[in-house]
Symmetry: C3
Subunit: 356 residues, 3 copies
């Protein structure tokens, strides 16, 4: 286990793509220690404060972070709904973050704007954790997913992973693919309606990283070859009700007890939750269904993350090159409203905030 070469490299957690496999192994080892002796960590974050900024309502992720911080003996402040704040007064994200970071030891934030956590990190003295920035990234969900796979199977690599549901808009799916690309011998089966298949840039990513994948038209077709099945929610609103018989379509992407009968005995079924009807309730009683364990393990890996980040010395984060860069064409990009942000372009010409 080696330390990151650049000590500031992992100050924040914005994108799982930024971290190394070594970083993950270290974090997972810490998580296992917490699971083994939780009482020994009861005061591990005593005196530390987490700022919990949920610009978009969330139950699961927010609860998970709150419980994690409190179980470490730390505490938190923040908001769970932007309506409870004075942000409507027109304050910039940069100012909100400067203020919040001066009161706290770590910031966790969820936004509807893509790239907002990265933008925030430029103005924060303390680590910023991205708890979901629109449809873009959700790295702590990915930590949760990897932790569950590692706990259940003993290791992460060498698996065939079925991704089922909304692969087009599902940020958890994109983050997971990016993360699993770091592990050996992972192949994917993409199980989705045509209209919600994996976007081209993700397919390009898999090809560029020599990751094997196939496409399937239904769960039924793919179930027998899977080691891990990652289910996601399909929203009726994604379809024009006149063109598509949604309920008929869903039968191909709904996990039932009958389909489970044809799955491997060692299958692991995951779901980021909340679940609606895409997993039949009868499956809950199958020992291979691990989505509730997954939710619980999410709290423990977040404990490991908070333990690490809240103890960092404060940084100095004051960008000196403010000013609009090339305008990003994505209307959900953070640069659409926060026009002062320092220009960031990637070498391939995509926006350095939202990756579009």
């Amino acid at each position: 286990m080696t330390a990151p070469t650049n000590p500031n490299e992992n100050f924040h957690l914005i994108d799982f793509a930024d971290v190394s496999v070594e970083w993950w192994h270290e974090l997972y080892a810490s998580c296992q220690d917490i699971l083994a002796r939780p009482d020994d960590y009861r005061d591990a974050c005593r005196g530390k404060l987490l700022a919990s900024l949920f610009f978009e309502a969330s139950t699961r992720t927010r609860f998970s972070f709150q419980a994690a911080m409190l179980r470490l003996g730390g505490n938190l402040f923040g908001f769970s709904n932007p309506a409870d704040t004075s942000l409507a007064k027109g304050e910039s994200l940069a100012d909100t973050i400067r203020m919040t970071s001066s009161y706290s030891d770590t910031i966790v934030m969820r936004t509807t704007q893509e790239g907002a956590a990265l933008a925030a990190s430029l103005y924060s003295e303390v680590p910023v954790i991205n708890a979901g920035d629109g449809g873009h990234l959700h790295p702590t969900q990915t930590l949760t997913d990897l932790t569950t796979i590692a706990q259940v199977r003993g290791t992460v690599g060498g698996i065939t992973v079925g991704l089922c549901g909304d692969l087009k808009y599902g940020r958890t799916v994109h983050s997971l693919v990016t993360a699993l690309a770091k592990f050996p011998s992972v192949r994917f089966v993409l199980i989705a309606p045509n209209a919600l298949q994996m976007p081209e840039y993700m397919l390009a990513f898999m090809r560029a990283n020599l990751i094997d994948f196939t496409v399937a038209q239904s769960l039924s077709d793919a179930i027998d070859e899977l080691d891990v099945l990652y289910m996601t929610r399909i929203q009726r609103e994604r379809f024009n009700s006149e063109d598509v018989d949604f309920d008929a379509l869903m039968t191909n992407f709904t996990l039932t007890a009958a389909i489970m009968e044809r799955a491997k005995t060692e299958l692991t079924v995951l779901h980021p939750l909340p679940r609606t009807n895409e997993i039949d309730r009868a499956v809950d009683f199958d020992a291979r269904a691990r989505y509730f364990d997954q939710a619980k393990l999410g709290m423990y890996i977040r404990m490991a993350l908070l333990l690490k980040l809240t103890h960092r010395p404060r940084g100095v984060a004051y960008p000196t090159n403010e000013g609009p860069g090339l305008a990003c064409s994505n209307p959900r990009c953070v640069t659409a409203t926060e026009k002062y942000l320092p220009p960031r372009l990637k070498s391939d010409g995509s926006c350095g905030y939202c990756d579009k």
Copy 2:
């Protein structure tokens, strides 16, 4: 003081009818000890987490639980308004509870749906406390009421209790009657407008339990015979403004200093609060008015309750008999939306969730 015969019997607190007088005496003794030496309990729940799920807004009950948990050195997470959550995404109550219970040591919940706390308890690894399920039950208010009577009078039995106000819809009143039925020699005077008198099933309950009660048309008529007067709020919306002169009606059910002059010197006036106009503000300065003490004692008995429940070993609660039973006709019953719930019918044919 004997332990309950079934150790799992009192795992949750859903309905005061489920608990024994012995259970109450034990809890009250604990409360008295906390009142006597609060500093000794400052770390009694250290490391414990309460999930506080208020699906319906509340100030008093929520504050009371929060303050209770924090004064024991525990902590809490949750929401005070369902708008702050992602529940709108269509997650079932069962899934929300499975997730929440995996993060917490006890759950307290308030809902508009009747029977929701019982339903939740079927899916929780940790104790569930019912902090009000619609117009159905509110057992910790009953604990508060009994605690105040016991503190002020030394004992709970042997009293004439006036119940005044909205006896039809008032869940606190129904819970209190059910609870006082467990104590010796309690009689009731039911003081309410005809349209808001005690519902027939509560009258039947009193008759079946050989509890003496009379009906009165005004506070004035009944005041001189009362040992305890339990006031409740009457909502103008309950009446059709064309048919009823609400203000004239209210004079019969409003407690004033003039009426207090004719009351016993040992009267105890209670009110679950919030109070609007049904108790004249001048009564506040009468030493027999104990409703603010009642609010305070509510925090202490909740401390005793949390102390007991948060230390229980986790349970295993996974119903294996899911599936709709006979449809309950009560539109506010939890079974109206949570259709997967295991069937529960009482021997008298009423719904096992909402008692309707």
Copy 3:
């Protein structure tokens, strides 16, 4: 450093005008000690509870109090949005406060009603801190402002203070003038559009206290003589868009890097935040801009305040002279809705709650 002559005099903090310079010096000394050795205060409020009642949404002040209380090892409960409470049920402020004070060790509250914190203090067993009552007072912002001036300059007196922006409605500006009047040799330059100049009663206050002030038409005119520049936000809604070219007007009251070039090298720029466009972002990188330090110092002086107030023995606060006094003509005064409040008239005939 002498104790206040009346031990109850400073039980609450409603109006900075109520406290002595000695009280301030004592508090500031405590703040400096906390800044020097924060770890020694980690358990200073252990077991203490702050009730945080934000009847009006706020981010900065609320976060600041929350972080302050948690950094002292205390904890808090409350609401950040009245929609999350049952206050809509028609409960009086007096009853809400009686209940809340019985659960807590100190109350901090923000309201839209003027005089509400004073009204609340009449019904509270524990200290009440005014965190802003409408356009009236905001004493902890004033503590923040004084602390920053004292930290940056070493002392508070002997300065020329420019007040720029909305001097008519800005409660922070009024509180600051009232506070600085207690210190020697402070003079003011009032820099505001005519429509938003300092109200006559504040001008009268300055004249009565022999405080020197001048009026300026733009920042440009005044900048070179200032030791402290206190910027505030001007709201577009204050102007009729047909009559006034708001953007043109704003150029006179916007701080830019060009204007900063002509300022003293020892200038201190303050702003209560949130800031919109009245300070150009380029000024943020000037070392004389201290508004983000100011926000951080606000947390520390609030720690000193909470440390002091949460340890007071409980008071007895039950007004016996309830009943409407002369009706106050200010529709935003707390007496407009809380009609039972004890009459309070000042010797000059103004309302004892809202000062109007």
